[in-house]
Symmetry: C2
Subunit: 353 residues, 2 copies
């Protein structure tokens, strides 16, 4: 069996609890599939680590992380009312720094309504789409600034940067992914009637890549209209490709309509293989329930399956996905999710991979 | 009775049909209330006008529009597949140009789930909130550009501009509005953990204005989390204050959860009174059903009520709102909305103001 050398960043709050279960299930699945031997190195990073050391992510840690095959990430961030930690600091200097430094240009966020999971929608339909979110550009680049701060003349700017390089690779990935799916359809979501410069780059890129994929259909939707359709007819979507900020917004909405972020997995993918990709649940650190074994580890476990699929272990990934589907299906009947501890859910899924 | 001198821009598609009904109902309500004599001047503007004249909004028209007390706006924009019209041109050079030129810094968008209206949510609850959207700044300013367009080295930028002046006036308006409502609560929606410069300006402004309103509570929510709560618990919101782009996204989602944009009204308000405010339904021009008397004029009629309230005719506004509520309530029973023509709905509401 090939060696799979993982870095694990549990992070804050429920992060370490859910990554522990993801690792447990990944080990069980690769053992049964017999195709990978997982070694895992824990990295202690996050808000708690910053409070004791003043460090978010040192150059040394970043270099060490680069040496692994992939990263399993939990969640970072302190309680919203914890005033000791500057707002957004850990998100920017750890999570976003990892995405940018490791060139995670393609952020994959599948959305599926699993049988038996209650949706807030009255008629959700058969929801199964993937948002392919750009991960290294857009308004997330940290450009911009402020002058005359704190005065009535203050001006603050944020600059969204979009490059042909960054847009093309994520659009290519979206079309290639759509070509492997049943409906083979890509929807570009943007706001090109207002954000004309970035919008034209995105549209031209989609038209160019679409011309190479006669088997894949495509359409366009403004981001505001997309929120309407995600609420009234989410089953219509197959693959959505969009920028960093719109992708952030749409994937939380997508998680909501498919029963909550407790089930939403994601992969921050370096498609050129120059640095490890990173897999994380979409949910946050939920400090209010941390350390109590109350968190649902399913999103982290599904992120582990994405990791394995990406690392070339599709059989182990398939086993995890099927065990998770079966586990979720059983919850409706037994209300298992609330009755079981975080570790018990992990144990149950690990046993049935 | 005071004279109320309106400009009416019906626009494209269903725009002229719905503004005609709004005007009919406004005339009926002011006649009964006996407090205003409406005169209306039609302005022919929009995509069709551009196709015949090449003009979007001339300086002359803009100057004439400035002379009116208020503007009633329908909808603009051609069919999405009409390739004769550059994408977004009419939106930017007519609608956004009006909002910016007439300094519509406060964009009011009430969201209410009327009794009897079906929501796509299984358990919508009692939804009644107002989004107070900034209307003249943010990523809508049209700053940014592109270099090396069409080459693999293309870079396209969009610049969001936020000023203390623009943020403060809209935040003040939100708190003043909240102070008149039952729950007296303001939620700032932004993404300050990523968009730090603009985010800090918004947060500091909210804290400063909140200090002057001890009677109004407030909290903060990231825009991604806000889409979750708008789907799982929209009844929690009272007044949301947010920037131009987030406001665009959230109000379409809000319209969706309250039963569709057929009922969503809005006001683009110049709070200093230096130019007329403009009132418009949130929906678009719906070219597919234009000229067939199939459009629901309710959103335009409710926008007319907002206009009257704003112009100092609260009694006429109240009459329209109540007639609309009664009409909507009767629809569940008789499926009146689909059976009646646009003009019949207007007639019915005008009769009962
Ligand atoms: C924590 C935050 C910086 C992050 C983002 O905005 O990307 C999160 O919301 C996400 O979606 O992964
Ligand atoms: C047509 C478009 C420019 C406009 C906007 O983005 O503001 C519309 O979506 C709205 O919400 O009024």
């Amino acid at each position: 069996a090939a060696a799979l050398d993982l870095a694990v960043i549990g992070g804050d709050g429920i992060g370490p609890e859910v990554t522990a279960e993801a690792l447990k299930v990944m080990r069980a699945a690769t053992a049964v599939a017999g195709d990978a031997e997982i070694t895992a190195t824990e990295y202690t990073l996050g808000a708690a680590h910053w409070l004791t050391t003043g460090e978010t992510l040192t150059d040394e840690s970043l270099e060490q992380l680069r040496g692994h095959d992939a990263i399993l990430f939990g969640a970072v961030g302190a309680a919203p009312n914890d005033t000791r930690i500057p707002s957004g600091l850990i998100e920017r200097e750890l999570l976003l720094k990892l995405r940018f430094s490791l060139d995670h240009g393609v952020n994959l966020r599948p959305s599926r309504l699993y049988p038996g999971v209650p949706s807030p929608l009255a008629h959700p339909g058969d929801i199964d789409f993937v948002v392919v979110r750009e991960g290294t550009e857009g308004p997330y680049v940290g450009n911009g600034g402020a002058i005359r701060t704190g005065t009535p003349q203050e001006i603050a700017t944020e600059v969204s940067i979009n490059t042909a390089f960054g847009v093309e690779r994520v659009v290519r990935h979206a079309f290639a992914l759509a070509a492997t799916r049943d409906r083979r359809h890509v929807t570009l979501v943007h706001k090109h009637n207002v954000l004309v410069h970035a919008g034209h780059l995105w549209r031209r890129t989609v038209e160019a890549v679409a011309a190479e994929h006669p088997d894949v259909t495509h359409d366009y939707m403004h981001v505001d209209a997309a929120t309407i359709f995600l609420t009234t007819d989410p089953a219509r979507f197959d693959v959505i490709v969009t920028d960093n900020l719109f992708g952030d917004i749409l994937t939380d909405l997508a998680a909501a309509v498919t029963g909550g972020i407790g089930l939403a997995a994601s992969g921050n993918v370096n498609i050129s293989g120059t640095a490890p990709s990173m897999f994380e649940p979409v949910h946050g650190s939920a400090p209010d329930i941390a350390g109590q074994q109350k968190a649902d580890p399913t999103a982290a476990i599904l992120s582990g399956a994405l990791l394995l699929e990406h690392a070339g272990h599709p059989e182990a990934a398939r086993r995890i996905n099927e065990a998770v589907y079966a586990d979720i299906a059983s919850r409706g009947r037994a209300d298992g999710a609330t009755a079981r501890s975080t570790a018990e859910i992990g144990d149950d899924i690990a046993r049935s991979v």
